[in-house]
C-alpha cells in the first residue's frame, strides 16, 4: 500500500520531481536564482521572465512555466536580482532600486548562456509584461542564433507618468552625466514612486513605445505578442500601434494584463501553439 502511494505521488508530480533551482552569480555579491524545469531535449527551451519588480513566483509566469513544462518544454524561470542577492520577494516600488535595464539584460544573457551550457540550442524568450520588454531589450542587445523566437505576453513599454518623456530623459541624462548618486524618485510603470539613481532610471525610461516598436520590428527572431483586450495597464492605443507595425499578435478576448483566471489557459495555449509553429518551421 505504501509503495503504491509513493508511486502515485511520483506519478502525479512528474514535473516537480524534475524541478531544480539554479543559482548564478550575476555580479559581485549578487547571486540570482532561477527555476529550471527540464523538458524534452528535442524541444526548444523557454527562457521565461516575469514582470516588473516581480519574481518567477508571480502567478502568470509560474502557471505559464508549468504549462509549458507540462507540454514537454524545458523552462528556465529566473528571478532577476535587481541588485539584491538571492531575491525572493517582489521589490517594492519605493525600494532603493540598484538595478538598470543593462543589469537586467546582463542577467538575462547569463541565463541564456546557462541554457546553452545545458545543451539547449534553441531558446525561446517568453516574457510577461515588463519582462517581455526586458527580453526584447536583450534580444536587441544580444542577438543570438540560439534564440529562436520571442513571445511577449502583455508587452508594455516603460511607462512614465510625465507629460514629457524627453524632458525626463534629458534630466536624467544630465544627472547621470554629472555622476549624481543622489536618488531620484519618479513614476515608472505601475510604480508611482520609483526610487533609483538617475542613471539606472534612465535605462528604463529610454524604452518608450517608439523604441519598443522599433525593437519589435527589428527583432531577429519571430515575434508573437499575446495581448488581452482588457489590459488596462497598456498605454493608449498601444495595441493599435502594435497592429500598425504589423506585429504578430494574438488578442485574448477578455484577458487583462495578467491573463489570470481562465485566460491563463489561453496564454499557455497560444504560447504552445506558437512554439509548435516555431518547431514546425525550424529547419531540420
Amino acid at each position: 500500500m505504501r509503495a503504491f502511494l509513493i508511486c502515485l505521488l511520483f506519478s502525479a508530480l512528474p514535473a516537480w520531481a524534475q524541478a531544480a533551482i539554479v543559482e548564478l552569480k550575476m555580479r559581485p555579491g549578487i547571486i540570482a536564482s532561477a527555476e529550471y524545469l527540464a523538458g524534452q531535449r528535442n524541444k526548444p527551451a523557454v527562457l521565461l521572465l516575469h514582470g516588473f519588480l516581480q519574481t518567477r513566483e508571480f502567478p502568470t509566469v509560474a502557471t505559464l512555466a508549468r504549462g509549458l513544462h507540462d507540454a514537454g518544454y524545458s523552462v528556465l524561470s529566473p528571478t532577476l536580482s535587481l541588485g539584491i542577492p538571492r531575491r525572493k520577494q517582489s521589490l517594492a516600488c519605493e525600494a532603493v532600486h540598484r538595478h538598470s535595464l543593462d543589469d537586467d539584460i546582463a542577467e538575462i544573457s547569463l541565463w541564456a548562456g546557462w541554457l546553452k551550457s545545458r545543451g539547449h540550442h534553441s531558446i525561446v524568450l517568453v516574457g510577461h509584461s515588463f519582462g517581455s520588454l526586458q527580453l526584447l531589450a536583450y534580444l536587441e542587445a544580444h542577438p543570438d542564433k540560439t534564440l529562436s523566437a520571442f513571445i511577449g505576453a502583455s508587452l508594455i513599454e516603460s511607462q512614465v507618468d510625465t507629460p514629457s518623456r524627453p524632458a525626463l530623459v534629458t534630466e536624467l541624462e544630465s544627472q547621470a552625466a554629472n555622476k549624481q548618486r543622489t536618488l531620484v524618485t519618479h513614476a515608472l510603470s505601475f510604480c508611482k514612486k520609483y526610487t533609483s539613481t538617475p542613471g539606472d532610471l534612465l535605462t528604463y525610461v529610454r524604452w518608450d513605445q517608439s523604441r519598443t516598436l522599433a525593437a519589435l520590428k527589428a527583432s531577429p527572431v519571430s515575434v508573437l505578442l499575446i495581448m488581452g483586450d482588457q489590459d488596462e495597464m497598456l498605454g493608449r492605443d498601444w495595441i493599435k500601434a502594435l497592429k500598425h507595425v504589423q506585429t504578430p499578435m494574438v488578442i485574448v478576448a477578455g484577458a487583462n494584463h495578467f491573463m489570470d483566471g481562465e485566460h491563463e489557459f489561453d496564454l499557455v495555449e497560444h504560447t504552445l501553439n506558437h512554439l509548435e509553429r516555431i518547431q514546425k518551421a525550424a529547419p531540420r
Binding site: 542577492p85 531575491r87 521589490l91 532603493v96 536618488l183
Partner: protein, 758 residues
C-alpha cells in the same frame, strides 16, 4: 453571697449597652482585621498579577523585537544594503519605516558587517554602537539591555544570511528601542503601575535580556474597586458604629424613660406603701407609655386607694379600739390602762423637760353606802356625774382616769402646788354643785382628793407620787379634814413613809419572796353530814417569824392596788402546796381571786397551769363580790374559759359588794357564798332574817349552790341546815389550819364525820 445581691434595672441597662458596644467594637475590630488581611492578600495577588502582566508584556515586547529581527533578516532590501550599502542611511532612516518593518520612532535598526562593524560611518549620530559586542553564540540572535544616561535601551542583534541554508552570513542587524518607552507604549498595563516601572541597572551596565525580569522593579496599581470597597466598608463600619452607639444611647434614654424611671417610681410607691406612707395624690401620677407598666401602675394605684381606705378604716378602728381600750365604759373617761400608759409618758416627759408635776387622786366618799342604798345603777350614774364634773374642772389638756371602783386620778404637768390645790378645789366645787338630787340621791355626794406634788428638782421621787397621793387621799378622808389633802403638808411625814409600815413591808417582801405567803386551809363542810368537801385557801404572811393576818395586809393590798400581784403570789403558793402532796387527795381547794385578776393574762395563765391539779383536787375560784367589775364581758369570757377546764366559780361575800344580782346575771357563777353579815342575820328572829332566808331559798331554787360563811353558833348552823344550804363554813366547825397540819386535821374531820354518821 454578695455578688448575688439585687442589682438595679439601670445597671442592667448600662451593662447591656456597654456589652453591646463592646461587642460592636469587637466585631468591628475583627471586621477591620479581616478586611485588612483580605486587602493584603488582594494586594499580594494584585502584585502577582502585575508581575504576570509585566512578564507577558516583556515577553511580548521581546517577541515582537524577535519577529522584527526575523522580518528584517529575511527582507530582500536588508540583504541589498549589506551587499550594496551605498544608500544604507536612506534605507535605515526611511525605508525600514515606510515599508512597515519598524513602526515606532523609538525603534531603530542598524546593520553591521559580518565582522560586526556598523555600516554607518557616523554611528554617533544615531546612538547605535559602532560595533557589536562579542557574542558567545555569534550566529544566533542575542538581546541585552543597557542603561544609557538613564534610559534603558534594549538591543536585539541578529544575523543576516544570504541563503536559506544560513551558510552565507552577510552581516548582522541590530534593533534598538527604548525599553521603558516601548513597554509602556506597546502595552496597556492595567494592573502594574506604569509610573513605578524601573529597571535596576547601573549606568553603562549591560544586562542580558534573559535576566531582565530579575531586575525589573514595579508595583501594582491600587485596585479602584478594592479602594472603593475599602472606603465603602470603612464608611459603613463607621456609620454602623455611630448608628449603633446612637441607637444604644437613644435606647438607653428610651429604656430609662419608659422602663427604668416608671419602675423606680413604682418601686418607690410600693416602698412607701410598705412603710405606711401613701402617695398624697396618686391620681396625679403620670400615665406610663408601656402598656404592661401602665397596667401595673393602675393596679397599684387602685390597690393604693384600697389600701389607703383600709388603712384609714383600720386607723379609725384602731383609734376607736385604742380609744375604747383606754376608755372607761361607764364614765367615758380614761381607764386604768390609759392611766398606766399615760403615766409612763408623763414620767418620761417630766424627766426630759423638768417641770413641776402633781398627782391628784379622787375617791368618792361613802360610795359603797350609796351603792348599797340606791343600787348599782344609781351608783353608776353617780360615778358618771362625778367623772363629768371632774373633767370639767380639769384643764383642757388634763386627763381624768378611772382607776377602779370609785377612784379617779389625774396628773398635772407644768403646775405648782397652789395650782394643783386650786384645781382640786374646783373639782370639789363642781362635785358639790352637781345635781345628784335629780338622781334621787338624798345624801350629799362628795369626793376626797389627795394631792402629791413633785418639784422639778426632785424628779427622782416622781414614782412616789401615786402612793403619796393615795396617802394624802386617805388623810383627806379623815374626819375634820376638808377632803383635800396635800401630801407633805397635811400628812405626817414621819409615820407615812412608804417603807416604814410593817404590814406594807411585809406585803411587799412577801410579793417578792416566794414562801413568805403561807396558805391556811379552812374546811367547808357539806350538810347535813358535816363532812369536809373542800378547803378554802386563806393567805397569811409569815414575816419575821410572826404571822400577819389578812385584815392587816389586805387594806394595803387594796390601797396599793396590788390585788393582781397578790393573787399571783397566792396562786403560786397554792400551786406549790398542791404539788407538795400534803393536801389529802380528793379534797377540793377554793382560791380567792379579785375580779381584776380574772382578766389579767398572767393570772389566767397561772390558773390554766394550776388546773392540772383538778383531777386530784377539784378547784374553785372565789370572786370577791366587793371588787367592782368594770370589764364585765372580758371577765365573763375568762370565767367561761376557766369553767371549761373544770374550775367552779363562786361569788364570795355575797351581799356586801356592788351589784350582787347583776354579777349573778352576767357571770357564770356556780356557788354563792353568803357573807357572814347575811348569815348572821339568819340567827335573828326578824324581818331581815326572813328576807335572807327567802333569798337563800330562792338562790337554792335557782340552782345555785350556797355556802354559808361565818357560822359561829349552833343556832345559825341549825338555821342554815333548815334552809337546805348545802355547805357551811365557820369557826364553829373548823378554823383555818396550816398545810403542815392539814392532813392530820382532815383525818380528824373524817373520823368525826364517820362518828356522827354512826
Amino acid at each position: 453571697m454578695k455578688w448575688l445581691a439585687s442589682i438595679s434595672i439601670k445597671q442592667i441597662a448600662f451593662a447591656f449597652v456597654i456589652g453591646l458596644l463592646l461587642l460592636v467594637v469587637l466585631i468591628g475590630g475583627f471586621a477591620v482585621y479581616q478586611t485588612r488581611s483580605v486587602t493584603r492578600d488582594l494586594e499580594h495577588h494584585r502584585l502577582d498579577t502585575a508581575r504576570s502582566e509585566l512578564e507577558v508584556a516583556v515577553k511580548r515586547l521581546l517577541g515582537r523585537a524577535e519577529k522584527q529581527a526575523i522580518s528584517l533578516a529575511g527582507w530582500d532590501e536588508t540583504r541589498q544594503q549589506l551587499v550594496l550599502p551605498e544608500y544604507y542611511n536612506y534605507w535605515r532612516d526611511q525605508r525600514v519605516y515606510e515599508s512597515g518593518m519598524l513602526t515606532k520612532l523609538y525603534e531603530r535598526v542598524a546593520l553591521y558587517t559580518a565582522s560586526g562593524i556598523l555600516l554607518d560611518s557616523r554611528p554617533a549620530t544615531h546612538g547605535m554602537p559602532a560595533s557589536l559586542p562579542k557574542l558567545e553564540l555569534p550566529h544566533q540572535a542575542y538581546s541585552w539591555l543597557v542603561n544609557e544616561a538613564g534610559a534603558i535601551m534594549f538591543y536585539h542583534a541578529f544575523p543576516i544570511y544570504g541563503d536559506d541554508q544560513r551558510q552565507s552570513l552577510l552581516g548582522y542587524g541590530l534593533i534598538q528601542l527604548d525599553f521603558m518607552l516601548a513597554l509602556l507604549h506597546q502595552e496597556t498595563l492595567r494592573i502594574a503601575d506604569k509610573t513605578s516601572l524601573g529597571l535596576a541597572l547601573k549606568p553603562g551596565e549591560a544586562l542580558p535580556a534573559s535576566k531582565l525580569f530579575s531586575r525589573l522593579t514595579f508595583s501594582a496599581q491600587p485596585d479602584p474597586d478594592q479602594l472603593m470597597f475599602q472606603k465603602i466598608l470603612s464608611r459603613t463600619l463607621f456609620a454602623l458604629f455611630v448608628l449603633l452607639v446612637t441607637t444604644a444611647m437613644l435606647g438607653l434614654v428610651a429604656y430609662n424613660r419608659l422602663l427604668v424611671r416608671p419602675l423606680r417610681h413604682l418601686s418607690q410607691d410600693i416602698d412607701a406603701m410598705q412603710q405606711g406612707r401613701f402617695n398624697a395624690n396618686p391620681s396625679r401620677s403620670q400615665p406610663m407609655r408601656i402598656i404592661e407598666l401602665e397596667n401595673i401602675r393602675r393596679s397599684l394605684y387602685d390597690y393604693q386607694l384600697q389600701l389607703r381606705e383600709l388603712h384609714g378604716s383600720l386607723e379609725n378602728q384602731n383609734r376607736e379600739f385604742h380609744s375604747q381600750a383606754r376608755q372607761d365604759a361607764l364614765t367615758g373617761c380614761h381607764n386604768r390602762r390609759a392611766y398606766e400608759e399615760d403615766w409612763e409618758r408623763f414620767r418620761h416627759d417630766m424627766q426630759t423637760t423638768p417641770q413641776g408635776g402633781a398627782f391628784l387622786l379622787f375617791d368618792c366618799d361613802r360610795f359603797k353606802t350609796i351603792n348599797d342604798t340606791y343600787g348599782h345603777a344609781k351608783g353608776d350614774r353617780v360615778l358618771t356625774v362625778i367623772a363629768d364634773a371632774l373633767v370639767m374642772a380639769l384643764r383642757a389638756n388634763d386627763r381624768l382616769y378611772r382607776l377602779g371602783g370609785d377612784e379617779f386620778a389625774t396628773f398635772l404637768s407644768s403646775t405648782t402646788p397652789a395650782q394643783a390645790k386650786q384645781i382640786a378645789q374646783r373639782c370639789q366645787s363642781l362635785i358639790d354643785a352637781s345635781g345628784f338630787g335629780e338622781l334621787g340621791i338624798r345624801e350629799p355626794v362628795s369626793i376626797s382628793i389627795g394631792i402629791a406634788f413633785c418639784p422639778p428638782d426632785q424628779l427622782e421621787h416622781i414614782d412616789d407620787l401615786p402612793k403619796q397621793a393615795d396617802i394624802a387621799m386617805y388623810t383627806a378622808k379623815q374626819p375634820g379634814r376638808n377632803r383635800i389633802a396635800v401630801y407633805g403638808e397635811d400628812t405626817e411625814r414621819a409615820s407615812q413613809t412608804l417603807v416604814a409600815s410593817r404590814e406594807t413591808s411585809a406585803l411587799f417582801q412577801a410579793l417578792a419572796t416566794p414562801g413568805m405567803i403561807e396558805m391556811h386551809y379552812q374546811p367547808i363542810h357539806g350538810l347535813p353530814g358535816r363532812q369536809v368537801d373542800y378547803y378554802e385557801a386563806l393567805a397569811r404572811i409569815r414575816y419575821n417569824g410572826e404571822l400577819i393576818m389578812p385584815g392587816a395586809f389586805l387594806p394595803v393590798v387594796s390601797s396599793r392596788r396590788l390585788e393582781t400581784e397578790f393573787d399571783l403570789a397566792v396562786l403560786h403558793q397554792v400551786d406549790a402546796d398542791l404539788s407538795s402532796g400534803q393536801i389529802p387527795p380528793g379534797c377540793g381547794i377554793s382560791i380567792n381571786l379579785s375580779a381584776q385578776s380574772v382578766s389579767h393574762p398572767e393570772a389566767v395563765s397561772r390558773l390554766l397551769e394550776l388546773s392540772r391539779h383538778n383531777a386530784r383536787h377539784p378547784l374553785m375560784l372565789e370572786i370577791t363580790e366587793t371588787s367592782l367589775i368594770t370589764q364585765m364581758v372580758e371577765v365573763r369570757t375568762y370565767l367561761d374559759l376557766l369553767r371549761t377546764i373544770h374550775y367552779r366559780i363562786a361569788m364570795d361575800d355575797f351581799g356586801t359588794g356592788y351589784s350582787p344580782l347583776r354579777y349573778l346575771v352576767d357571770l357564770p357563777v356556780d356557788v354563792v357564798k353568803l357573807d357572814i353579815s347575811l348569815v348572821n342575820k339568819l340567827g335573828q328572829d326578824d324581818r331581815a332574817s326572813q328576807v335572807v332566808a327567802d333569798f337563800a331559798r330562792m338562790m337554792s331554787d335557782a340552782g345555785y349552790a350556797l355556802v354559808a360563811e361565818g357560822v359561829e353558833t349552833e343556832a345559825v348552823l341549825h338555821k342554815v341546815e333548815s334552809l337546805g344550804i348545802a355547805h357551811v363554813q365557820g369557826y364553829l366547825l373548823g378554823r383555818p389550819v396550816p398545810l403542815s397540819t392539814l392532813s392530820a386535821h382532815h383525818a380528824g374531820q373524817v373520823a368525826e364525820a364517820l362518828a356522827r354518821a354512826v
